[in-house]
Each structure stands twice: as structure tokens, then as C-alpha cells.
């Protein structure tokens, strides 16, 4: 008897103008229905959403889409990257999301982002409230307290794969199944040199939106927030402070979960995500 199992996930490349240069961007998708655009964490890639794309309970009502940010995963850096230092900013990240959404002709997708993705959805909801029918922030906060010198992530005397995985390994909850824990860390080990650090420029330096989250109009763009209790980077406390500053934001703390809910413990994450997706499905009649 064959053990072959082919997943219902398709991956393709698009070539497009972005950030003033030609880019080749990889994305994966599965399912049909309301577009659900998923944003991976810093220094990782779209594989973090592998379980979601294989879950019929989700894909029967949602078209789940995850792209690898340029310089990440199977998306290439632009020509000339060899003499550039990668650094993510709010403006570039927003441009990326809007460009991809437009390229794929998504009609006001649900935008769900984790960590840096959980931060940018706040910027998106504030600056482009009509670009998404709602946003879901996983490990989302207006700002986080930097707790280490990010220069450690990229220096010649420390192996980048080891230190990037080592710095995020503790953000995973003890309850995470080992296979998912180490798959999540593997993605970090495959990150390009200096890329995790470049993403954290947005997360810990440039992308602070704490003083402006109160300007978000949740009547135009509803916000759901889900935060794992073991995350000490975007802690429950930071998410709470953010949610309290946004009129109408809905926050749920996820027990037994860390910083990578969709990747570290998909089954447990599903119990928290499904009620949110069901509410969205009912609101949008899919």
C-alpha cells in the first residue's frame, strides 16, 4: 500500500515590480472562498502556515495564501542584493502587502500576520482600513521591549543558523510537539545572512505604532488578536496594552502557546482560530 500523500497546496512564482526593483516572489495557496492572506514571522517564511493549508475545515471556506517575503524562503532578493544590507520598514512592508494583494486580485482579504506580521496588520488597519475586510494579529502588539542586542544575529564569529534558532527556541511553548517545534526552528536556520536582524529593525526600532493604535477604526476594519501565553517577546501584557488602546479590538490569550501558534502547535491553535474564522465567515456570507 502506497504511503504517498500529495498535499492540496500549490506553490507558484510571480515576477513583479516592488520597492523600485524587479522581484521574484514565491507564494503558496490552498482552498477556496474568502481570501485569507497570511504573513509569516521575521526571519522565517510561508511554510509556517503549512497546517492551515492542509486543514479542510479552513480551506473549505477560505482561500489561504502565504507568500515568502522578498529575501525569505523561496523568494529571491533583487538583483544587486550582494551589495545591499536588507532592512525592513513599515512603508516597505505595507507596500509589499498591498502589491501582492493587488497582483493576486484579492478582494479585501482577511489579513492575518504573526509577530512582525501581527505588527504590520495594525499599520494596515490604521492607514489602509479598506484594503482588508478585517485583520487578525497573532502575537500582535504596537511595540515590544527589545530584550537583547540584535547584532548577535549577524556577526562572523557566531553561526547565524544556530543563533537565530537559539534566540527564538524559547519563544515556543513547552507544550509544542517536538516535530512542529523543530520544523519551526529549521525555517529559522534557513534564513539568509542578516535577514532576521533586518526584519527586527522594523519590529524593534522603526515600526512602533503604540502611540497611534487608538486611531484605528475597527468599524471599518475589525481587529482580532490572539496571543500565546508563553511568548516573552510579544507578551500577553503587551498585547493587552495594545488591545486596550484600540476601541473594539478583540483579544484572546492562548494557553499553552508561544510566539508561533500556527507553526509550533497547529492543533491547539485551531481551537482558538476557528471561532474567529467562523465569525468572519458568518459576517461575509461565505
Amino acid at each position: 500500500m502506497s504511503t504517498l500523500q500529495i498535499e492540496p497546496v500549490t506553490g507558484r512564482y510571480m515576477n513583479l515590480e516592488l520597492w523600485g526593483a524587479k522581484h521574484r516572489v514565491y507564494w503558496e495557496e490552498a482552498g477556496e472562498g474568502i481570501p485569507l492572506l497570511c504573513l509569516h514571522t521575521a526571519g522565517s517564511d510561508g511554510r509556517q502556515f503549512r497546517a492551515l493549508m492542509n486543514d479542510e475545515d479552513v480551506t473549505s471556506n477560505f482561500r489561504v495564501i502565504a507568500f515568502d517575503m522578498p529575501w525569505h524562503g523561496k523568494s529571491s532578493p533583487p538583483a544587486g542584493w550582494e551589495s545591499e544590507t536588507y532592512e525592513l520598514t513599515t512603508a516597505k512592508y505595507l507596500d509589499l502587502i498591498l502589491t501582492i494583494s493587488s497582483a493576486l486580485e484579492l478582494d479585501r482579504p482577511v489579513v492575518m500576520g504573526c509577530s512582525i506580521g501581527g505588527r504590520i496588520i495594525l499599520h494596515l488597519a490604521r492607514q489602509h482600513p479598506d484594503a482588508a475586510r478585517c485583520v487578525i494579529g497573532l502575537q500582535s502588539a504596537g511595540m515590544v521591549n527589545p530584550y537583547y542586542d540584535i547584532d548577535w544575529l549577524y556577526r562572523p564569529d557566531v553561526h547565524g543558523a544556530h543563533v537565530c534558532a537559539g534566540m527564538v527556541s524559547g519563544l515556543i511553548a513547552p507544550m509544542a510537539p517536538d516535530a512542529h517545534r523543530w520544523e519551526t526552528l529549521w525555517h529559522y536556520m534557513q534564513s539568509g545572512p542578516g535577514i532576521f536582524k533586518g526584519d527586527l529593525h522594523f519590529y524593534t526600532v522603526e515600526g512602533d505604532i503604540m502611540d497611534h493604535v487608538g486611531e484605528i477604526d475597527t468599524a471599518r476594519c475589525p481587529i482580532y488578536m490572539l496571543t500565546g501565553e508563553y511568548d516573552f517577546s510579544c507578551s500577553p501584557e503587551m498585547s493587552r496594552r495594545t488591545a486596550e488602546a484600540i476601541d473594539g479590538a478583540q483579544l484572546q490569550i492562548m494557553e499553552g502557546m508561544g510566539h508561533f501558534p500556527m507553526s509550533e502547535n497547529p492543533d491547539a491553535f485551531k481551537t482558538y482560530l476557528m471561532p474567529v474564522l467562523e465569525e468572519i465567515r458568518q459576517a461575509h456570507g461565505a
Partner: protein
């Protein structure tokens, strides 16, 4: 603590992620100090201090209650990881941090092995 050497040197994760590691770590549990000498990715010696004047590359120290919480079968948030404990102020990590970051996965594994052994359960 003397059991730690044997545990580390037959633990698949420690052996995998310790490759190439060579450093002296000072572990502090309450007032007790241990010097853990790592060479060729294995623990060569664990010495209770102060046996003699000695040096170390980096030190990981904290009250016994922090380590007890770290080694609990299911550690609570902020006690479940070395960096989490350091961030929350439960322990200190000091000294030359280059070997610490070079071998962070190994150091974390080494210091969580008592948990896997259920020393406190």
C-alpha cells in the same frame, strides 16, 4: 549536579548541538557555584566552586527558586527558557557572551536536562 555530565554526554540533542563547543561556564544555583568545562562538544568536567582560583567564559546564575521553576516538569511562562528567565529577571547571564551565543542551543539543552530527568518531580 555530578549526574549532569553523564546525562549531557549521552543526550542526542546535546551531542547534536554541542558540536565544536569549547568553553567554561559558571553555573550558579543560589550560593553554590559550579564550573562546567565543555570541550569537543561534551562536558569534560563539573567542579563545585570554590575549589581553587579559577576562571570561566560566561556565568549563568540565579536563585534556587528560579532553577526549581525552570526544572519543573511543565515550567510556567517566563521560567521555561534561559532567555525568558533572563528577560524576566529570574537569572543573570554575564561574562563573555560570544561562546554563549555561538552555542546557545547547546547551553539551553544542557541546563534543561535536569527537567527531562524529573529531578524535582
Amino acid at each position: 549536579m555530578e549526574q549532569l555530565q553523564g546525562l549531557a554526554n549521552r543526550d542526542p540533542l546535546a551531542l547534536r548541538w554541542g558540536q565544536g563547543a569549547a568553553f567554561h561556564m559558571m553555573l550558579g544555583v543560589e550560593d553554590q557555584r559550579y564550573r562546567i568545562q565543555v570541550a569537543d562538544g561534551t562536558v569534560h568536567q563539573i567542579t563545585a566552586l570554590p575549589a581553587k582560583l579559577t576562571s570561566w567564559d560566561f556565568a549563568v546564575t540565579g536563585p534556587g527558586s528560579s532553577w526549581q521553576a525552570h526544572w519543573a516538569p511543565v515550567p510556567a511562562p517566563t521560567f521555561h527558557d534561559l532567555i525568558a528567565m533572563r528577560t524576566a529577571g529570574h537569572i543573570a547571564i554575564e561574562g563573555n557572551l560570544t561562546p554563549f551565543f555561538q552555542h546557545i542551543l547547546y547551553v539551553k539543552r544542557l541546563l534543561e536536562l535536569p527537567r527531562a530527568q524529573g529531578w524535582l518531580s
